[in-house]
Amino acid sequence: MSTNSGDQSRGSWTAATRGQLERRLPWDNLLPDRQPYWVGSWVYVFGVVTIAALAWVVASGVILALFGPQWWHLSRAGRFFNSLHSWSVQVFFVFMVLHLWGQYFMASWREGRAPTWMIGVVTFAVSIGSAFTGYLSQQNFDAQWIAVNAKDAINSTGVGGFFNVLNFGQMYGLHVMLLPIGMVLLVALHVIQVRMKGVVPPIGRLSQPDVTREMTEK
């Protein structure tokens, strides 16, 4: 029976994907209950604070999108959620940069972790785009001022034909839909990469699989 089902699944992309996932991302790695001892440092908290701030950004952004510009400018609750959105973005960027400093000085791209690093770089770039389109979506004079000042710089790069900062609909659509979805997917991919490869060990120290192998050999 098992041979038959094995034969039947040969050539199936779902079976191949399942096999790849089972090999590369077992449940123990995806949802670990223990971490190596070197993770016991406040430096490793920066990443999770960034994710927590992103959750606040998304949640407050959903509320703002539900009620609209008049509400977020004129009502007390609207101004509260507007501020919550703005300040959680500040926290997000501050802790993302602190996370970047920490990972830079640890050389976290070591031992096959380059994709994790690169996904982080792309996430940083996309989050800058999200913040910029957010400034343009405020629906106030500040947003207009930023748009009018930015248009020449954007046009000089040659992307002005595709990315028109004076087009509110385009900026708002990018800000509330495409860029947040992209960012959440990238962050999820970043975390999955960390779970696949494990947290980078201190420089000059063997990684966890190497430590286990060394202990077994002894």
Binding site: Y37, S41, V97, L98
Partner: protein, 51 residues
């Protein structure tokens, strides 16, 4: 509050005081994260040394 921020202008360096202040706070947080002990870390470290 509702007026442009002051700027530090020293040679080629031009930065607003609020931005400079924020970078200073970030450096302090980073230094504290390196220096402050993490709860439970010492116990785990000893466990590893015993094994």
């Amino acid at each position: 509050m509702d007026q442009p921020a002051g700027y530090l202008h020293a040679g080629f360096i031009l930065i607003s005081w609020p931005n400079l202040f924020l970078i200073g706070i970030m450096l302090v947080i980073f230094a504290l994260a390196l220096l402050l002990p993490f709860p439970g870390h010492a116990a785990d470290d000893q466990t590893e040394k015993k094994s």
